[in-house]
């Protein structure tokens, strides 16, 4: 077996295990970044340069930064709340995961895998992927574009701070107080506020 494959696979799996079991959230995120990088390397090893580099850009670049930001934004004092104990959910979870793992591995082992159609790795250029995207997959491509736009708008709307009622009253009073002397301008101010 290829030594590079073994090294990358072991590194990826080990960092995934660490990400799932460490207690410190930042450590989890860093291990997860390593897992994503390992998967990107595996893609590159599989002659999928475009997808591998996209994975590197999207996951190791953008998603990792976003996750670290979210961790730092939502860090609370009760970081030690997740105590290490064996609850019923741990046991059930372990059972479910073991079941899934055994069935997946058994399925892989018992499947008759055809020999690769070409011994030489096919050369997949970005040009060919682009041609595919523009011919066979043009409708999904458009839908994906729409989805990304919707997701961007949605993220902005969700993350926007809701106007606090107390704050807005404050602002109105502050804006309104110098205008109280003049009834006419107060009226226009109220209209403007409405």
């Amino acid at each position: 077996m290829d030594l590079a494959f073994i090294i990358i696979a072991v590194l990826t799996l080990a960092s995934a295990v660490a990400a799932m079991s460490l207690r410190n959230l930042v450590h989890c995120a860093l291990c997860m970044v390593m897992t994503f990088a390992g998967i990107a390397l595996t893609f590159l090893q599989l002659n999928a340069e475009f997808v591998g580099l996209a994975q590197l850009l999207v996951y190791v670049g953008a998603v990792a930064i976003l996750i670290v930001f979210a961790i730092l934004l939502t860090r609370s004092e009760d970081a030690k709340k997740e105590v290490r104990f064996v609850s019923s959910s741990t046991v059930v979870g372990f059972g479910v995961v073991a079941l899934v793992a055994v069935s997946l591995l058994a399925a892989i082992q018992h499947t008759q895998i055809l020999p690769p159609q070409s011994v030489v790795a096919p050369h997949v250029s970005v040009k060919r992927i682009g041609e595919q995207l523009m011919t066979n997959y043009v409708l999904p491509l458009e839908v994906i574009g729409l989805l990304l736009t919707a997701a961007m708008i949605g993220a902005v709307v969700i993350a926007m701070r809701e106007p606090d009622p107390a704050d807005s009253v404050d602002v109105q009073q502050r804006n309104g107080s110098p205008l109280k002397l003049d009834p006419d301008s107060k009226k226009t101010a109220v209209v403007a506020n409405e």
């Binding site: 997808v51 709340k81 066979n136 969700i158 993350a159």
Partner: protein, 102 residues
């Protein structure tokens, strides 16, 4: 030694998927659950790319491209939701999010 075949990549992919599932079921922090979901998506991507390579077809890679895009959209919305939730509840633990229970 046997050359690396499709089954090796599939085994790695399956193990990664199981690790992600483990994280989703057992961990109690929303962000960890979130990262586990991403890990499961990535494991599926790995299987798709492996199939694409060993069958000499391009469709798998195009599919992975779409999956990565959807995952990026999911990250944007999901993290915004988690941050908004944290502002309301001051917590990112699943035990504290019981508004819809009872």
């Amino acid at each position: 030694m046997k050359p690396v075949g499709l089954e090796h990549y599939l085994v790695v992919s399956g193990l990664l998927f199981c690790l992600g599932l483990w994280g989703v079921i057992v961990r109690r922090n929303l962000l960890i659950i979130y990262m586990s979901l991403e890990l499961m998506l990535n494991a599926a991507n790995l299987a798709l790319v492996a199939f694409s390579r060993f069958n000499n077809k391009l469709d798998g890679q195009v599919m992975v491209f779409f999956v990565i895009t959807v995952a990026a959209a999911e990250v944007a919305v999901g993290l915004a939701l988690i941050v908004a939730l944290y502002r309301k509840k001051q917590s990112a633990h699943v035990e504290d999010l019981t508004t819809m229970k009872s």
